[in-house]
Symmetry: C3
Subunit: 190 residues, 3 copies
């Protein structure tokens, strides 16, 4: 169980830190970057929650909890020898729930024939912020998975990929079900 | 024409994606990073629009549209053989409009003899957020341009460079035309 | 003394810029990235200030000023030959003040046995945004310090490390002294 009491330990002042397994790493290690970016998505979600109500708020807070599962998954890498304990991993069901929620929201939206300008209501605008940070986190997770000898669970990758699509659809949903969307007009100001 | 209907395709779950030309690339490819960061600026702008009115709002939304032109430009690289179609590119006129708007706003501001603490009104504060993300996007675009064999159009670089200066001046303008600016006092808390 | 009057100079349109010493560098140089990320933390703080009052507001604005000291420190590297002027450096006292403020706030909070979902009040939510960007800035500063031949002052590293802990504690403090915190439940949605 995680304990947070003293908060600062000064141990990271030289640029080193530890994974959940206790393994020492540089702070700019791609794995630390990956869960650090996931933490950043989670913080942007905290701002989105400020403007959400009802089912949307429930869903956003569930995703926040899931993102800590994802952080735990990323912070506990498989190495050559067994971990000696059961790690917490993202499971397929978590990505499937995102897909079900996307399908439900998307059913009420009209299809688009151009990109939408991020914005609209306060909630819609902030969900675009979440979306774009989520895609940065996805790049960081994918980049980690691309490093030789570093493993990332397949469900971690599909979860973060689907999550940015969830944010896109939720953003349109929060913008009068897409009716208030302003579309990109290619080259309009030239 | 871009179509957005199904939204999730699951095709990116292994960390690969495609440029606008169809060329397959890793998600952490510097070109994808560059247009992903531009998308992040655009999302921050969506939040700024929430506090803007009148001409400022018009200008912010025009810049949002321009940023999709920039995204399209970056997503469509020149390679050795011809594209076979006319790509959408940022043109000099788009940077020139930013300069004209900077000059117009700057004419009403007093010159500064120190940096300003980001903040002030809600709009001014958010324009500093846009500014700093824009400068990160600029670093990513410049970094892409620095990769051997990768080309970035000169107008893409000048547009993103000028845009952060636009945000700086607009932010001061939105903070009682700079009269409410709080200045940095070097070493004040030592 | 820093002068900001013309704002755009067009000199950065080819992806090059200069450090405070006049040394020419690429825009994506790790040192430029480091102070650029610090600037991003500062912008997020500008948004936090919008919801802060009293002592908290004073503290946030003092940190903003300190972050420009940090930016100046990072922008003025020691090289082989003497600078010829006294550089502005972060001093131990600045980190110590953060620690004292953490201790004071933390004394009023109950210890935690899990991570908290970022969010709560508007101020608490935005302080988590500051926290996560600050940790990204820390990764960038630590990464710079890890580059051969690049020096970063020890106080710069400890300041940025302590600052994210300050944001964590301040966020809990701003969320009804931690009483409104929602905790992570590992694997709750599986
Ligand atoms: C990874 C990590 C993070 C990551 C990701 C976490 C996530 N899940 O998303 C992020 C970046 C979010 C993070 C943030 C913070 N963190 Co942190 N974090 C950790 C770390 C390394 C692992 C936590 C974790 O997720 N574990 C996975 C979960 C599932 O583990 P668990 O609850 O212990 O359960 C497992 C174990 O019990 C395990 N188990 C059973 N038997 C055995 C045997 C062995 C040998 C092992 C290894 C495990 C094991 O089985 C369970 C299931 O897998 C811990 C240090 C540590 N090693 O515990 C610090 C730690 C908890 N964090 C710390 C701090 C200070 C913070 C921040 C305040 C930093 C900041 N300023 O931002 C924030 C708080 C964020 C918040 N919102 O509350 C400190 C707390 C210090 C203190 N005592 O007060 C710690 C202890 C690190 C340290 N030494 O400084 N953190
Ligand atoms: C680059 C890109 C992005 C970038 C940058 C876009 C920009 N302009 O700024 C960013 C990161 C913003 C982005 C975001 C998203 N995207 Co996107 N994006 C693309 C991509 C690869 C290119 C789009 C583009 O800008 N094209 C340039 C414009 C000018 O092209 P155009 O309108 O087609 O016009 C040109 C062509 O017709 C061309 N032409 C004429 N003849 C020929 C012949 C050939 C062979 C070619 C290649 C071209 C060509 O000439 C015109 C002028 O140049 C497309 C896939 C694709 N290849 O189309 C996906 C795509 C449109 N995106 C997709 C998705 C899902 C999204 C997001 C929802 C993802 C997310 N969760 O965040 C968001 C939505 C953002 C929003 N606000 O609406 C999906 C849509 C799936 C669907 N059918 O529902 C697509 C189809 C990718 C995919 N297969 O999954 N995207
Ligand atoms: C580093 C830097 C930044 C960094 C970090 C700054 C920080 N402190 O956190 C960041 C990223 C924040 C930044 C942002 C911006 N910046 Co700037 N920045 C600089 C730079 C390179 C150094 C400034 C600095 O911090 N100096 C350190 C302080 C302590 O120095 P000082 O006040 O001069 O005092 C020292 C000197 O006098 C020194 N000294 C004494 N004798 C001698 C002799 C020599 C030879 C030297 C070198 C020094 C020296 O001793 C003092 C103590 O050390 C200057 C260019 C330059 N070289 O001055 C541009 C500069 C000031 N920035 C500029 C601009 C445009 C901006 C932005 C508007 C860009 C944007 N669009 O976002 C923003 C504004 C931000 C804001 N909120 O106000 C322009 C201003 C152009 C103009 N005249 O209008 C400049 C001049 C760069 C340029 N040529 O374009 N900036
Ligand atoms: C919609 C388009 O966005 C690009 N794409 C796919 N994944 C990411 C990501 N994580 N970040 C930025 N861009 C991405 C691809 O080019 C895709 O086709
Ligand atoms: C104002 C100062 O900011 C630095 N600079 C120039 N471009 C960028 C960027 N994209 N990101 C961060 N810093 C930058 C240079 O040092 C310049 O002089
Ligand atoms: C709380 C946990 O966060 C990780 N950690 C330490 N420093 C950083 C940082 N700058 N960014 C992201 N994660 C970090 C370590 O794993 C630490 O134990
Ligand atoms: Mg995707
Ligand atoms: Mg510039
Ligand atoms: Mg730390």
């Amino acid at each position: 169980m995680v304990k947070l009491d003293k908060i600062y330990t000064r141990s990271g002042d030289k640029g080193k830190t530890r994974l959940a397994t206790g393994e020492p790493v540089d702070k700019w290690n791609p794995r630390v970057t990956a869960y650090g970016s996931v933490d950043e998505v989670n913080a942007a979600l905290g701002v989105a929650v400020l403007s959400a109500e009802g089912e949307m708020k429930t869903q956003l807070q569930r995703i926040q909890n899931d993102l800590f599962d994802l952080g735990a998954d990323l912070a506990t890498p498989e190495r050559d020898k067994p971990l000696g304990f059961e790690p917490l991993r993202i499971v397929a069901e978590q990505t499937r729930r995102l897909e079900a929620e996307i399908d439900e929201m998307n059913a009420e939206l009209s299809p688009l024939d151009s990109f939408v300008l991020p914005g609209g209501t306060a909630l819609a605008a902030q969900l675009h912020v979440c979306r774009t940070i989520c895609r940065r986190a996805e790049r960081d997770v994918a980049s980690l998975a691309g490093v030789v000898d570093e493993k990332v669970s397949e469900h971690a990758l599909s979860f973060i990929n689907r999550l940015s699509d969830w944010f896109f659809v939720a953003s349109r949903f929060a913008n009068d079900k897409g009716n208030a969307d302003i579309k990109w007009k290619p080259g309009a100001n030239r």
